[in-house]
Every structure is written in C-alpha cells, then in structure tokens.
Symmetry: C3
Subunit: 334 residues, 3 copies
C-alpha cells in the first residue's frame, strides 16, 4: 500500500516520475476516467483553501469522487489519546479513520503541528495515528513536519521556470509573521531544493534554525544530487546572486518551552520582510511562497506582483502534482 | 412517492430486498450510472461524519450528484413554527424544503431530537414538517425517533456476521454518556433485531426504559418473526450467552421535565460501561455500536479493538445500505 | 472573456438567449456532458442556501465539477485592501482569486454589501477586486449592487407565469425587516421588469428610494422596451390592478451615515408587510420574493401559501437560469 506521509516515501524513481507527470498535467489539463469508481476522503483538522480545492479537483480530473470532512466543523471533533472521552470530542481517530477508509480508496489528511507538544510534533504523532488506523493509503496534506504535496508542486514550478535547477542558487528566507507557524513547509522546501541539486542557503535569524535531523537529511540529499546546503543569518548577503528566493515564516523551537518569549524574539525580526530592494540583489531571482502570504509582513506587494514571482505557479502546480501523487498512490502512473 | 421516514415505511418485502441489496453492494462495491441525472440534497441540522460521507458517496456510486446543506453553518438557520420570524432564523422550512426539492430528486434529512419538547420529539414533528413540505422523497438520516438507515446497515452487518440471526441473542445495552442523547438509535436497533427474529434483551437501568409504543412495536415485530423481546435492569445477567451486544447511550425521558435531575440519575450509572469482563459472559458475542463512540465511557478500548467487534462493519454498511435505500426510493431495485 | 457582473454585461441578444434557454431547461431538466472537463469554483463571503445548491447543481447538470469555498469558515478569511496584513485575514484576494482561477474555468462569487462603506458598495468594489484579480470569467452571485442570476430567474418565472409580460403591472414593494438589507435584489428586479417592458411601480416609504443611477437605468430600459417606471409611497394604491407584486426588504441609504437612526425609521414601517388583504387589490396578482423570506414580517404565511405565489418558481429558476449563464460564459449556447 502506497502512502505519502514523509519525505522518504518517495524514492528517486517515483519522485522523478511524479515530477514529470505534474509537468505533463499542466500542459494537457486533461480529465480522464482513470480513477473512476474510486473515492478520496479529505480530512482537514485545519482550514484550507488551496489544498482542499486542488485536491477535490485533482480527484475529479481523474474521475474519482472526493468527499470532504472537517472535524469540529459540521462533524464531531476527534479524540487522539487514551484518556476516557469525557470531554468535547465525540469520536476517536481510531474509529473515524477506519470508517472513512471503508468508504474511500485513499485518505488525504491535514494534521498540522500542535506547537505545544514538541515530542508529538517531532514524531508527527497525529499523522502517524491516522496512518496506523487507516486501511487505505494516506496522503499527507501537511503534517507537523512535512508537506510533500507542496514540495512536489514547488519542484515542478522551479523546473518549469529555471529549466534544469541543478547548480542554481535558492535562498530559503525566514520571514516575519504575527504567529508562530509550523516548520513543515520550510522542512519540505529545503529537502526539495537539495534533491534538485541546487545551491541552497537557509537564511534565518539566530535561534530560528530548522531541526538538526532535517538539516542532516538535506545535506545527504544535496550530496547525492551534487548540490549544497549552507546556513546564514545575513539575509542581504544570502540574496546575492540567487535564482530563487523561497520566503516562509516559521516559529522558533523556543515556542514549545516559552511561547511568550518566542513571540518577543520573533517580533525583533520584522525587518526580514522580503522587499523589492532585497530582490534586486538576486540574479533576476524568482520569488516563491507556499501561500497564504501576508502582504506587507512576509513580503511587499510589489515583490508579489512582480512578473518574476512564481508563487501563483507554485499554487497552480498543487493541482497537477496532486494528480500525479494520486496516480502513484492508485498505481495509475504509466 | 417513496419516502423512508419511520419504521413502517419499509414493509417486509422491501426490507428484505434492501437487506439483500446491501449485502450484494458490499461484495461488488460497484459504481453504476443507474441514477445519472438525479440529484440528492442532504440537509443536516446536526453535525455528521459517517452519514454525510456515506450518503454523498452512496449517491455518487449510483451516478447521482449530492449537494450538502448545513443550515446555520454556511447557510441561513431555519424557522419551524408559525411565529413571525423576527429572530435569527432567516428562512422557514416551508420555503427551504420545497426549494431544495425543486433542485433535487430526493432529500436526505437529519433533524435530531430537541430533548426539550417531548410532544414534538415524540411526534417526530421536525421530520414531519420536512416531509409535508417536500415535493420529492425524503430519506430520514436520523430524526428524533428513528434512524432507519442505521437499522438497515446494522441488520446487514448482523446478517453477514451471524449468518441467519434468527434465534440468536442480542442485548441492547444502555450505556453511560456525559450528555443526554436521543432514543432514535436504540428505538431503531430494537425494532431491527426484533424484525430479524432475534432473542432481544433491552438492558437498562430503572428509569431508562424506551417509549412504550416502541416496545409495543418491538413485541409485534418479534412475534411475527418468531423471536422475543424482554427487558432487564441487570446488565451482567443480560450479557450471559449473548451473540451480539449493541451498546448505546440514551437519556431518560425525565430529561424533558427536569434535565438537571436526569443528568444526576444518569451519572449514577457510569458502571454500565461495556468492559472486556462483561463481554466474557457472552457466547463469543460481537460488540456493536452505531458510532461515534466514547472510549472509556461507553465501552473500553479493548472491547472496541477486539476482533469480534463489528462497529466498523456497521459503519461500512451505512454506505451499502443507503445505496440500496436510494435505489428503492428511485425505483431502481431490480 | 465573458463575465457576468452587472446589468450591462448582458446585452439584449444574450439576455433573450439566456431567458429562452432557462425556460427550455425547466422543460427538459436535461443533464449533459457539454462542460465536461471544466471546473467551477464558488466563493462565498456570505451564507447561501439556494445559490450554493443551485449553482453546484447547474455545473453538474452540464458535466462540470463545482468546488465550494467559504473564506473564514473552513478556509482563511480574506484581506481586501493595501494595509500590511497583521490582523486575522491570512490571505489577500489578489492571491486567493488567481489561485482559484488557475484551478477552475469560472468563478462564482458572492460578495454582498458592507452597508458601512457607501463608496465601496456603490462602486461594487469587492466584486471588482475579484474580477480584476481573476484570470477566468466571474459570475456575480450577488454583489453589493447587483444579483443578475436572480434577475434572470425572475424574468423566466414571470415569463412562464404571465406569458408575455409586456404592459403588465409589477409592483416592487418595499418590505419591513429587522435588519438593513442590501439593495442588490431590488436594483436587479427593477431593471429586469423594466427590460421586460412592464409597467413598474416602486412602492416604498419616503427615504427608502433606490439609488438615482439605478432609477435612471430603469427609465432607460423601460423606454427601450415600451414600458414605464414610476414611484409611489402609497403601498395600497400601488397594488391596485397589479399582475405581480415583488416584495423585498432593503435598508435606506441613511444606514451608511447613521445606522441607529436608519433602524428607527425602518421600524416605523412594519405595516408595509404584504397581507392577503393587500393582495386582494391586485388583478389576481402573483406574489414574488427572492427568498429567504421572513414569514409574518415581510409577508403573511397565507400570501406565501396562496397558489398564485411564484416565489418557489423563482427559486427553481435559479438552477435553470444559472445553467444558461454558465453556457453563455463557456460559449456553449447554440
């Protein structure tokens, strides 16, 4: 059974096949009946615009039927642990998931990070609970640690834009934000760019480094692909000569121990906003973001509206990449 | 016009045909175009996971298009009575329902019990208001008094599990719960088991008896089918030799007159939780529940995770049973 | 690219073609594959029952796939202006709309009136922001100023009911309501009836006149079609000899400057409720309303349940009219 939960679920052959397929799907925009008679259940623990719309339509492009569940909003909230269920949650994940799995041929699940329980987030415990309970393949639509659908879409957008991305410079640039956000997207973007063989610089303030095991995976991927991964706390310098700038806000790990202090520290770096002046330092670099993006906070409007920005292309590729992923999950790739 | 609102809507011939059809659907899992060009509007006054997902997919398995409305959440709340509509509700059921009926070829409706107005609940007034206003067939997706889709799914799960259920012992076992819940499921489970010709024991604390008219219907059904219906307030004794244990929490009728007192009384019976020790008294009995189930409150986790438990099979049969019901409603049964 | 945003988007030839098509669709109720391989994204800033259900099904009747987004409910709330996005809204309309447009072949959008910002409402600024940001056609599902889908449905219902509506008398009758409501529906109903060549009387209390530019458009349309538009503050007199009475509540423009005072003034006219006695003054006139309608506030129950009322027919025609509009937008009209 093929699930897509973390980075390691996609070996290089599958990754390449899905990437090519996503590029093809954008050209053809074809609707088929390949997955006619299959159902895709989408379970959202958190709000979603792009993911929900693109995943519903990815299924329908293939002839499959999507059904969307948002626990706690129109359906019961879910319980996750072993405590007697005397509180608000009326259903346990160990019932909800197998039931959906008996109706559907795959589950798409967004679990998100708690940002309060480091162990659970680091272990991707919520996603693992879903996978453990599911009789059908699970597609991770963003968990505490990973967002593989976004990563594949990003890789396709980069490939379409840069041609061969190998050896090109990508800056993953930490961005300010009023809230502490999870690290699933920066983790996935980092590994994606390393896998593409790019020269990757993670630019972030001191204290906002990504998890060491993720950095290790990134170094391994870069070595295999002939690229490199470095870190910098000098944003302006990092932008010099970049071909792509991937802006993304995330919270420091400090959020688990002292959320008030983390917010204070984070608020000291509002000058990490991506401006047009910063973009001028790049080699006609393409601005990237996974969306939703806060204008005037993460990046200036003129950066987003510049013709070199490809955040909308990344978002469009969510549809095409997820079609490819569903084809892989259901063994429909040629 | 064929509506499925209460028990009496399904005569024995139809009941048998739908039951066989549900069993067939689980084997074939076939998607057809039998109902292509038909629309099913689903109107939920209360949250739902299983019912919504299974009903959306039941329609799509048959080629019909589902559309889901949840008044008060994304749509206007509904008014039900004759008072001038000066409050929050912006639309009356006598407009909302015929409009949906002009778009769709059947309505699926969940109305639930008020638990505050005994007369209205006992008369299934909300469901009747929907049926009276509808120009198209109505399928009851759980009303104040009945849950016929659940009952048909339960009958199919029992039949698949026990072979011929006639003469087998089923205990409908009242369960503790932090809230007073409606009696629609126990009413329907009782009549379902009686109709199957089982030896049914309703095990419940004093004061938690089901409505006398429902008990009368159950006795009639049992007599016709060659089974029996008895009551007991000794849970452990009731479990002896049972082939199936259907656990379900419900509130006492006292809730209408004195909800605080009802909660006190209910809280005295938390020891009615179904434990593994209780299940040992059965004849390798199968645990049943309609879901959602509160672990550690209604039943222990080890009961739910035992291989003999069939609550997930019941839930899966919701899909297959509802396909059969839609086929009956739309005259598509062979 | 064909968008339907305001009145002027539909020239007479298209208007006539869509009107005939809507009448045909009600007869045939046909489902086709004409728009197979197309997706329709529906973006609701406000709750909806009729619009959502009828638009989802209109798309599916044509073989297209609908996907529904309700920002702020299951998805991020949207930002609309140029301020740095430091508040609750996590996504700007200038990202959300092009992304949806990259997934879909048309957008249906409900924006509604703010009732606090006169300039923005009068300019239909929110709808225009969506149209400006969209790479695909936009269908207005009710904006601050216009509700063209309702107008086409109303015209079809009138045509089916009256035969040739030219020269027949229609009263657009202001109605009481606990809230100040937008003028999109009365604006659109007025222009619709004028375009049909009817003798239109706008009956409303002093201070509740519609915008002067809308009245000017109505006079122009009436002149072209051989009808007339007049105003009256004597409701009973206006009803004399009417063939159709279109009741609709709306707030006075005073709401922008002094909402408390507007509410006081509005509350003085609760006697504008449409009663059976008022309807007796008409020439067996047909009661009309766009729904949702508050019984006992806007009109009495006996008016709504009279066989001459056609508010349910208007609602049904939403489905058929929107099918026609989608066919026009996608160039599928013969």
């Amino acid at each position: 059974m093929r699930s897509l939960t973390s980075w390691s679920d996609l070996d290089d052959a599958v990754w390449q096949a899905c990437l090519r397929r996503a590029l093809d799907h954008r050209q053809s925009r074809e609707w088929t009946d390949a997955a006619r008679g299959k159902a895709l259940a989408l379970l959202f623990m958190n709000p979603s615009l792009r993911t929900r719309a693109s995943m519903e339509l990815a299924a329908q492009h293939l002839g499959a039927a999507p059904v969307v569940l948002t626990p706690g909003q129109g359906t019961w909230g879910l319980a996750w642990d072993d405590a007697p269920m005397t509180e608000a949650a009326a259903e346990h994940v160990r019932e909800a998931v197998p039931v959906l799995g008996s109706y559907a041929d795959a589950l798409g699940v967004r679990t998100f990070a708690s940002l309060t329980d480091y162990e659970a987030d680091h272990a991707d415990a919520a996603l693992k609970a879903v996978v453990d309970a599911s009789p059908v393949p699970v597609v991770n639509l963003e968990s505490a640690r990973w967002h593989p659908c976004q990563a594949l879409a990003d890789a396709a957008a980069l490939t379409e834009t840069l041609g061969d991305p190998r050896g090109k410079k990508l800056v993953l640039s930490w961005a300010p934000h009023p809230k502490a956000l999870p690290q699933a997207v920066p983790n996935s973007a980092l590994l994606m760019a390393a896998r593409l063989g790019m020269e990757v610089v993670v630019a972030r303030p001191e204290g906002f480094g990504l998890a060491s095991d993720v950095m290790d995976l990134a170094h391994d991927a870069a070595r295999l692909a002939g690229g490199s991964v470095t870190e910098s706390s000098d944003q302006a310098l990092a932008f010099d000569g970049a071909h792509a700038v991937y802006a993304k806000a995330w919270g420091a790990d400090l959020v688990y121990d002292d959320p008030d202090r983390e917010a204070e520290v984070r608020a000291q770096h509002t000058d990490w906003r991506v401006t047009y002046d910063l973009m001028r330092r790049t080699d006609r670099g393409h601005f990237m973001h996974c969306l939703p993006v806060r204008r005037g906070v993460v990046a200036d409007a003129e950066v987003l509206e510049d013709e070199r920005a490809i955040h909308l292309l990344q978002a469009e590729y969510r549809l095409h990449a997820q079609k490819a992923i569903l084809e892989w999950v259901w063994d429909l790739l040629d």
